[in-house]
Structure formats: C-alpha cells, structure tokens
C-alpha cells in the first residue's frame, strides 16, 4: 500500500515538473511549424521558454490584490486536473476541476475595470458554453462504454478492457477533437485569446495581466495542452505509445486547421459546436445505448 502511495506521489511530482517542458516545447514546435507554413523562418523552438522567463523578470504591475490570486488559481486547478489524469482518477471530476480553472481566469479578467478585459471574459464564457456540453457527453460516452468514470482502467490491462476506447466512441472522439480547437485557442474558434491577433479584441481577456501574471497564464496553457493530448491518448490507449503518436498527429492537424481557416464569430461557433459537436456525440451515445 505504501509503495502505491509513494508511486502516486512520484507520478504527481514528475508530472508537475515535466509537463511544462513538454507543453512549452510543443508550443515552440507549433510556432515553428506555423511559421514554416507561412513561409517564414520562425522563432527558435525554445522561444516560449524565453517569453516565459522574460515575463517573470518584468516589473509587477498589480491592478488589484485579488487578480494574482485568480491567476494562481487558474494554474493550480489546471495542474490538479493534470495530476488527476496521471493518477487515473475520476474523469467527471477532472472535467469539473478543469472548468474551475477556466472560471478562475474569467474571474481574474472580470475583477478589473477595463472594458476590454470584461469583453474578453464574456467571450471566454461563450467558449465554455460551446465546448462544455460536448466534454460532458464525452464523459457519458466513456461511462456507457466502460461502466466507470475512472481513467486508470483505460490504461491498464488488468481490468479487461483490451480494446481501445475508440472502437466504442468514434463519433465522440471526432466531436472531442472538434471542440479541442476551442480549448487549444486555434482558428476558427480562437475568439478569446489567440496566439496571433495581438491588436484585436481577441486579446481582451489578457489586457490587465502583465509580467509574471501573464507568464503564469502561459504556463497554465502548457499544462492544459499536455492534459488535452493526454485525453486524446486515452481514446487510443493500449499500447500507450500509439495513443501518444495519434495525439501528436491530432495536434499537427489542429495546427493545419489553425493556418488554413479564418476566425469566425461567436454566434457561428455556438451553432457549429452545438449542432455538429453535440449532434455527432449524441448519435454515438444513442448507438451505444441501442447496441
């Protein structure tokens, strides 16, 4: 028993230390690939780390006292969600904690008086409205397929789920990839905080965050990135390396989509995710019921 606990603690520590490296490196590769697609030479692969450390070294401009707390909360809940994933915990609870992380960012953006920040926060809320139902349906699908919300059985042979989750949930997976574009902040759904478009309303939510606070938000995004690639892996687990490979392919696919599509309006996005995302996921779940 003690060894199991020790192993869990080591897993969490390793996750907290390694995830930012993986996330930052993937973001750097993303920026390089994006640049090459636009026939530019692009920044060095370690550029996200340079940005992070530079922001940490900047002066602290504190707008109000609660703002930093919300930013730290944003990071904390994202790390907690990733740690839960690595420990193979409850998928439904993971989703709630992940939502809490997003809510923290919104609260931070809402806590200041800048109208740009508030508009940005509202747009973030619309995004959550768009992707959250699909994620919930994904969890429902996982439950119908395995009879449990736990993630750990999906990655181990002991419990007798020899086949990948994908065989039962192909359409749910497609819907998940579809809404992942929102979470990864990629076009056509990147209308609150994009990696491009710095001069536009899109950057609104980060208006009042500067220096170390912005660094923490960036760090949180890396943790989230690793978590989402992990969730993709979940569909293809056994063997895990195939899952990781497919997660990376999906990430590349998202980069391609980001580069070939224009940013749409929030109304269009709500329609697109609710009709296509929920529709596709529901079809899969009804099929699982009837099977």
């Amino acid at each position: 028993m003690d060894i199991v606990i020790l192993k869990d603690i080591l897993t969490v520590v390793a996750t907290i230390i390694l995830a930012p490296f993986i996330g930052g490196l993937l973001t750097g590769i993303d920026r390089k690939i994006t640049a090459r697609m636009q026939s530019r030479s692009g920044p060095p692969i370690f550029q996200p780390f340079y940005d992070l450390f530079k922001l940490l070294g900047k002066e602290r401009l504190i707008v109000n006292q609660t703002q930093m707390m919300f930013v730290i909360g944003h990071l904390f809940f994202a790390v907690a969600a990733l740690a839960m994933f690595m420990l193979g915990q409850d998928l439904l609870m993971l989703l709630f904690i992940m939502a809490f992380s997003s809510i923290m960012l919104i609260m931070g953006a809402m806590s200041v008086r800048s109208p740009y920040s508030k508009i940005g926060a509202q747009r973030e809320i619309v995004q959550i409205m768009a992707y959250e139902p699909v994620l919930i349906l994904m969890v429902v699908g996982v439950f119908l397929s395995t009879g449990s919300f736990m993630i750990r059985p999906l990655f181990s042979d002991m419990f007798g789920f020899g086949k990948p989750l994908l065989y039962d949930l192909p359409l749910v997976f497609i819907a998940f990839i579809y809404v992942l574009t929102i979470k990864l902040r990629k076009s056509p759904f990147d209308f609150s905080m994009s990696h491009h478009a710095h001069q536009e309303l899109i950057k609104g939510i980060t208006t009042e965050f500067s220096g170390p606070q912005l660094a923490v938000i960036e760090l949180t995004h890396w943790y989230e990135l690793v978590l989402f690639l992990g969730l993709i892996t979940m569909f293809f687990a056994q063997p895990v390396w195939i899952g990781i490979l497919i997660a990376l392919i999906c990430y590349f696919f998202e980069i391609v989509i980001d580069n070939i599509s224009a940013r749409m309006t929030w109304k269009w996005m709500l329609q697109a995710t609710w009709i296509v995302g929920i529709g596709v996921a529901m079809t899969n779940i009804i099929w699982l019921y009837l099977k």
Partner: protein, 150 residues
C-alpha cells in the same frame, strides 16, 4: 539570474505607436513582420497592449494632442522598457518641425534610447534599432533592481 537575462535578450515584444506619421514609417515597420524580414525569428512580437510590451516603437512627430497618449502608453509599460524613435519625424520632428502644433521629436516627451533615421526608415534599419534597444534593456533591469532595493 542568467536565465531571465538571456530570455530578456531573446524575447522583445514591441508596441508600435503612430504619432503624426505620414504612414511611410508605419508601412516599413509592419513590413518587418512579413515573411521576407520575419522579425519573429528574433522573438519579436508586435503586441497591441502596452502592459505586455518591452519596447515602444514610435513613428512620426509628437504634437500637442498625442503627447498625452504617448506618455500614457509609456507609463503603462512595465520595466524594463526602451523607446525606439523610427524615422526622421520621430527623431527630430522632420519636415513638420516648424508646424504650429508640433512639439518636435519623441525625445521632447520620452527618454529615447535608439534613433533610427531615414525618411522612411528601412525595415533592416528598424530591426537593427530594435535589437540595439534590446541590448540596452539589461542596464535598465539593473537600474530597476537598484531602485527596488533603495
């Protein structure tokens, strides 16, 4: 901290503000972002928010109207920060120097670190000016630290 020091040299985020420019220098500044020059290879990002910026790039001469805006933008930028005046107008007031409403170059209002001359300044010269400003950020960071201790 060597890591922060190195990162500071590698990731200058630029805020571009157009005072009363004729748009010539602005076109050249934005040309730096095109695939031909691609300033992102130096880590330079053209941000739209003074709170995220490290370097303020100003084009055009300062007049009585935009003086306040320029000061406001500069004051909102977190330390360490540098100012680059791009083009003849931003350096001295240029051909608009004697206009009744023009105060002169950017240095009449803000402490300018690098002057990039030319009408308009070439993209290569602008990139060079920004990189010189980056090398000055370190002294400013030292000054910031000394000020914090005092």
């Amino acid at each position: 901290m060597g890591l922060v020091k190195k990162s500071r040299m590698k990731s200058p985020w630029v805020l571009h503000y157009d005072c009363t420019s004729c748009n010539g220098c602005d076109i050249e500044t934005l040309a730096c972002l095109t695939p031909l020059y691609d300033v992102e290879r130096f880590g330079i990002i053209n941000v739209g928010n003074p709170k995220h910026a490290d370097i303020l790039v100003v084009t055009g001469s300062v007049n009585k109207r935009n003086e306040k805006v320029l000061k406001n933008l500069y004051n909102q930028m977190p330390e360490p920060k540098a100012v680059v005046a791009v083009g003849a107008c931003a350096c001295t007031g240029g051909i608009f120097k004697d206009c009744y409403n023009v105060l002169g170059g950017v240095d009449k209002v803000l402490p300018v670190d690098v002057y990039v001359p030319g009408c308009c300044a070439k993209p290569e010269a602008i990139i060079d000016g920004i990189m010189i400003a980056v090398s000055k950020l370190e002294e400013k960071a030292e000054a910031m630290k000394a000020k914090a201790h005092a």
